[in-house]
Amino acid sequence: MTQSFNAQGLGLNRRELLIAAGGIAAASLSGPAFAQAAKRGGTLRMSNGGDPPDFDVIQSATYLTQMACAPCYSTLLRIDPTDYSKLLPDLASKFEVSSDGKTVTFTLREGVQFHNGAILTSDDVVYSLDRIRKPPTGLVSPRKGLLGNIVSVEAADAKTVVVKLAQPQPDFPFLVSNPFNVIYCKAVAAPLDASGQGMKRTVVGTGPFKLSQAIDGQLYEYVRFDKYFGEAPYLEKIQSFPIKDEIARAVALQGKNIDACFFFANESVLTMLRKTPGITQLRRPTPTFVNLIPNIRLKPFDDPRVREALSLAIDRDSFIKTVGPLSGAFFHSLGLLLPDSPHSLTADEMKSFPGYDTIPGLGGNLAANREKAIALLAQAGVPKDFKIVMPTRADIPAFRDASINIAAQLKTVGLDVAVDVRDAGTFYELENHGQFQLIAHSVAVSGALPDQIFGEGYTSFGGRNYGGWKDDSIDDLFRQQSREIDPAKRNELLRQFQLAFLKTNYQINLAWVGYAAAYANNVKGWNALPDLYANMQQDKVWLDG
């Protein structure tokens, strides 16, 4: 028995997908609604940061490339711009999940054109998905782990793509539709990939806008793609200006030189913009967390008592009050998922972990925590004024200011912590070679689903295991929850995973980062989702006057 999803103009939410994978029920779907009558035409002028390093969004690990490319590309399915928990059809008009949950069949829309006039076929999809999970020699794929459950991707015919999975995976439709997992034109990408150049300077997608100009340091301009397969975008043109400095972006917005900035971190910028009439500004948690990461390969951090002492020493409330305004690290969650996740732990569960009771509202006693931390360090044989050097990046406040704050806090339990501020290149060198004792690390994962956050950030095989820990029980729990198709059982497994990980203190969560956005009040149709990367295609955005 298979479950079929005819998703013409419809949306599937995550719960419905969970049910679907088990072949239980059909989904009831509805299209996005926009209350106000949208107007066509106009140019949206925006700036989301500096220059994208390149345009190869599949190879990229930065939001700068993703945001620069999002208007030009499409994914198989698409996160609903009005509801983060739903998927809409994009290049695939429908998909079917087999009764065993291990085969997913995507049916592509008819007549989808790339910007170069080529027609989309299943070969393009197969090539793109294979490029993500098995990058050609000389190319990289930061998100191959997201599609690590795929056994094979095959073109059944010109419009049908069959994906075989190693085990059922309820999150799979969301993972394959991650905004970074765009579909390239094989005829364009394959020769460039073979030459080693990749799609770094070439943008040929099926998205609502075509890149018409790219002047490094100056301007990225997009024009409406008249043959876009979906509803025609409202805007005629988008101009994106690479303004690296946040204050400069805010001044440009205040001075009406740009209409929107969909990415800010610094709170003082928002404070400044709050005083400016005619500008909407907001902040949303995004899948970026700041963790304190001990290097488990080194003594004394291999000792669980030392790691517990580190967690006990930290006042999480004071952390967000001081580091938050500088870096956007304003949020706490109950557990290891985004704040307000349906899989959050209870307050009682959370405050049972050493140090986490200093999260606001959990009624912790910081002085008692620190006394206990001092005792634990003594038991572990850590001498008073034990010297620790924390390398950090100079260019990102969520690293730099977090490290400075943590160093000061750890001094209260008798650790002599010095912050070693480096440029990004030097920092990576130290981190990739495990040449650190302790780091405060902002980890931006590529999506908010449990498989994304845990798979990338909290497994020993995930890309973010900077501390070098190894724990089969944690990894097994991850795999169990990933394949569990019953929502209730999966929720329980997710709870167990979080409880088990928090006990280890392999990584000590400090806060979650929220991105801020600000735009002129005449910019309509954009919705800030709790994921920085979603909803950046700008096809639903329009200008009111």
Binding site: L139, P142, A252
Partner: protein, 321 residues
């Protein structure tokens, strides 16, 4: 003269070779990995095996000697290589960014020469008087204040008083000369004020010496008007050290606009250098440094040749030698 120029060019080539070797070694000695920065793979999101493949593709896994030989071979045919960051030919990146930097250099030197030389002359002419004191004080402030600080004050003043903000698109000079000049005047001013002070003080010092010379006294005794004495007889003979200074400053400015371009967000060579260094973009760093070294070599040679034009004695000296 031709032999002299050939000798200087040959020496210049030697300088460029030395610079290229030093830069080649220095950028590789920096901690950090070009492959990691190029793939944006900081944070361990890309496997070591993939990074090795990228290094192999770029030739970064080869010994330094082979890498240097490859690079030198390309340089010999004026190919600066491909930027690891932008994916463009380094020469194309430079070609697009150099005009903005050149425009700032030229504008700032026009400001510096236009204000610095007259103020230095007047300062010497009226040495010890009120005009001299005022000009001396102003030039001292100009020398003491770093150009980036002047730039920040300028931005602040422009924003507060006129609601100005840095342009989003910097118009190239050849597309819209007036607009381009109006955009780049502010960074040029912030750099030019310091150069003005430097030139003014140098001019004053030289003019004080020159105005004490016998031939100046003779000119005055012959009844030449004072303006003519100062500007025609004094300034012309005192220009040599000032020209030398201007030559050096022009060459130095090409590499010295990094902070000014950054605070004004000008997409010039300075910003390109900063991004290239931060991203360990070896070909770009090497290409730009080689270009800047070339500008210094050519600048020095130009100053030397200008000496001959301004002072016939130096031409005779070379001929005798």
């Amino acid at each position: 003269m031709i032999v002299y120029i050939a000798q200087r060019l040959l020496a210049g080539l030697g300088t460029l070779l030395g610079v290229s070797i030093i830069v080649f070694i220095l950028v590789r000695a920096l901690p950090g990995d070009a492959a990691v920065m190029m793939t944006g793979a900081g944070g361990g999101v890309v496997s070591e095996q993939e990074l090795q493949q990228v290094r192999a593709k770029l030739g970064l896994d080869q010994p330094w000697v082979i890498q240097f030989a490859d690079w030198s071979e390309r340089i010999a045919v004026l190919d600066l290589g491909t930027s690891l960051r932008t994916g463009n030919a380094v020469s194309a990146d430079i070609e697009r960014r150099l005009p903005y930097t050149m425009e700032i250099v030229v504008l700032s030197m026009v400001i510096a020469i236009g204000l610095g030389i007259p103020s230095g002359v007047f300062s010497a002419w009226f040495a010890g008087g009120a005009v001299d004191r005022v000009l001396q004080t102003v030039s001292m402030i100009g020398l003491a204040a770093p150009s980036f600080w002047i730039g920040l004050l300028l931005i602040l003043g422009l924003v507060v008083l006129f609601g100005w903000s840095a342009p989003l698109f910097w118009e190239p000079f050849w597309v819209s000369p007036l607009k381009s000049l109006s955009q780049l005047i502010w960074p040029s001013l912030s750099v030019g004020l310091r150069q003005t002070a430097l030139i003014s003080r140098m001019t004053r010092a030289i003019m004080l010496e020159v105005l004490d010379e016998d031939y100046i006294r003779t000119a005055r005794a012959k009844g030449v008007p004072e303006f003519g004495v100062v500007f025609r007889h004094g300034l012309k003979n005192g220009m040599l050290p000032v020209v030398t200074l201007i030559g050096f400053e022009i060459a130095a400015l090409f590499g010295g606009l990094i902070i000014t371009e950054t605070i004004f967000s000008v997409p010039g060579l300075g910003q390109y250098v900063v991004s290239s260094i931060l991203n360990r973009d070896y070909p770009a760093i090497q290409g730009v440094v080689l270009l800047l070294a070339g500008i210094v070599v050519v600048g020095n040679l130009s100053v030397d040749l200008l000496y001959g034009v301004l002072d016939p004695r130096t031409r005779r000296g070379r001929a005798v030698a």
